[in-house]
Structures are given as structure tokens and as C-alpha cells.
Amino acid sequence: MTETAGPDRVRSAEQIGLSAREAAAAPPPHGDRDAAGNGSPRNAASWAKKVDRLEVDPREGVRGTNVAGRRLTGPVQGFGKMWQKTYRMKAGSQIEPEQAITTWKEHFPEFWPKGNRFAGALTGINPGDVALLDLAIGGGVKLSTGVFVLYADAESFTLMTPQGHMFAGWITFSAEREGDETVVQALVLMRANDPLYEVGMTFGGHRKEDKFWVATLTALGERLGIQDPVVATKTTCVDTKRQWRHANNIWHNSMIRSVLQTIAAPVTGLARRFRHDKGTTKSAA
């Protein structure tokens, strides 16, 4: 099921929020704060600590470029129209929300469609983690980028994108009980990061992204033991305006950089080997 609403229908916070499950959860008691109103709320540990620029360690199996030193980008920093996309799958009555999210977090990379790589921390998905991605974009080229774990608790987790990623925004993965059954959801709030991505998203990018997340949820459903999982997609344009002041985000475009890095790979590989050999010779001397 797909629905597209007009820009005047600004979605409710429940629909637009980072985590539908968390959004609906009862807030903690006020005892988390001192008399002066200071202190941290109960879910403080679920949020990542503030970072200005991303730091990454090399990970096996991915190129790992276009992430280190990048800043995070939310919908405010993006260029294109603002979209909200919801992918929902009914998981039945036997699966608890916590179980679905635990499975999703522990096996997140395994649910990605073939040809795409997600290299996260070995410990799973925790607030503040940076995962490196290699995404198949055709022609044998991999788009190298990453994501930052903004929020993670037992029933949801939220990823935020860095500069150069296809979109600026958040993706929240959550599970909640609706009546007798558990519903698993991925919610994307995004703008294309720059004009080139906006063109790409308009001409097939959105469709490709929809297929990506439908395939991911289907794979999760199969892992959870659901017979013939069905994923419902809902797309809403929240803001039709493009933010031209952010057109220069294209400088960080990871697709352009990944293509250049692929072309330059033989040369940079030789240079790296030369430096390594030179260092080995010096050590021996």
C-alpha cells in the first residue's frame, strides 16, 4: 500500500517522530531530576553523546571512506523535499516487540539486500556507534558511506546519516504491540542531501529505497519465522520546498567520491604499497 499526501498535510508528531514506540511510551517519573531541574532523564543512556565529527576505525569487508571527519546531517541540513516513509510489517502475536528488536539489532547486516554491506561495531548497535556502509549503485561501483547510531533502547533504535550520504535524516526501527499482535516498523524522515541526489531520488531513487527496506523487513520477518511476511509502505511529502542554501552539500557527495575512489584505486594502492615497502627498507637498514 502506498499513499502520497500533499505538502499541506504536515504529519503528526507520532508519524514523524524518530521512534513511534518510544514516542508513545510513558515518560519516566520526574524523580530523575533534582530540585533545580538538572540531571538526566531516564533514557539519557539511550541517546548517543554529542559528536561534532565522526571518527571511525577500519572495518573488514568495506572500503570505509567518506565517513571519518564528516558531520551528521538531519532533515534541517538536507537539500531536497522532505519525505516521511513508513515500512510496516505485522509480526503476529507470538513475537514480542523486544524480541523483534533484539533480533534486528543483533543481525542487522544480515537482513540487507544482496550486494550491500553494513559493517557495524562487533558489539551490535549501541548509541554512538558508527557503521560503515558499501551500497551497490550499479556499474560495479560501491557507494561508501556510513550511519551513526543516534538512539537505541530495547524497543527501538535510530540511525542518523553523515554528510555525503544520499539523504540527510533519521531512520527509526521500532516494534510495538497493536492489539494482539506485534508490528515492526522502519520510519525514514529525510531530505536528499544535495541536488544530484535529489535528481536521483526523483528518477528511481525513492523506488529503489522502497525496495531496499521492503527487502530488509521481509528478511527480518523470515528470520522471525513469519510465513510470507507482507510489508506495507506509506510515503508522505512533508515539505515540498527544496533548501537551496544547502545545494553545496554536493561537495561531500559520497557517490561522486566513491566513483573517483574506484577509478583511483589502482594508483592509490600502488602508492600505499610503495610507502609500505619504503618503510620496511628503512626499518631493515
Partner: protein
């Protein structure tokens, strides 16, 4: 969804500025309350909207998403958004999500009014 444990009162400062005093828990459940406050604060002459978070007790990610909604609406009306009274934790969340680049954060009401009046 349970009734939101929040109140949002609107104070007008002159003809162009309105302050929304937020008291309680900002979650998606209080979206109707915030949007009512926004409607009340946003008559034809309002150019600046200041969110007072001194009474904020809790805000989750649904609340952050709601502020993005509010921001889109305010931008459509060519209104500025500012905030003050955020605790260190929530100020950090604003900075982490880079909402602070669209919603200017001040320490107190006086600086917020001076800031937006500049």
C-alpha cells in the same frame, strides 16, 4: 494513547513575538497541544516564536520529531523559532541532531527576547 501530561501557555510580547511556556513531558502525545499553542501564538503578525523549556520534565525522540513538524510549519509562515531553558542534556540532543541550527537556543528569556529582537 494516554492524555498528554503537559500544558503550553502562550504569552505575547508586543505584536511580533510570542512565547510558548512548555510545562511537562514533550512526547508525540502532546502534538495536538503544541499545535493548538502554535495556532494561538501564530496570528498574522507573529514573526518570532520562542519556546520556553524551563518547565520541561522529559522529552523523547517523538518530541524531537514534533519539533521538526513545528519547524516546517513556522518556516512556511516565515517565522523564526527560538528556545530557552533547555537542560544540558536536551541542549546536547538539540546539538547532536543539529536542530539547534534551525531553532536558536538561548539561556534565558531575556537573552531569547534580545536575540530574536536583534
Amino acid at each position: 494513547m494516554s492524555a498528554p501530561a503537559i500544558t503550553m501557555d502562550v504569552r505575547r510580547i508586543g505584536t511580533e513575538v510570542a512565547i510558548v511556556d512548555i510545562k511537562g513531558e514533550v512526547t508525540s502525545a502532546c502534538e495536538p497541544v503544541l499545535m493548538s499553542a502554535y495556532e494561538a501564538a501564530s496570528d498574522g503578525s507573529t514573526k518570532r516564536l520562542v519556546l520556553n523549556f524551563v518547565g520541561l520534565e522529559y522529552m523523547n525522540s517523538g518530541g524531537i520529531g514534533m519539533l521538526v513538524t513545528l519547524l516546517v510549519r513556522a518556516n512556511r509562515q516565515h517565522q523564526q523559532l527560538a528556545a530557552y531553558g533547555l537542560s544540558a542534556h536536551y541542549r546536547e540532543i538539540f546539538e547532536l541532531t543539529r536542530l539547534d541550527e534551525a531553532i536558536t537556543i538561548y539561556d534565558n528569556e531575556e537573552s531569547a527576547l534580545n536575540g530574536v529582537a536583534r
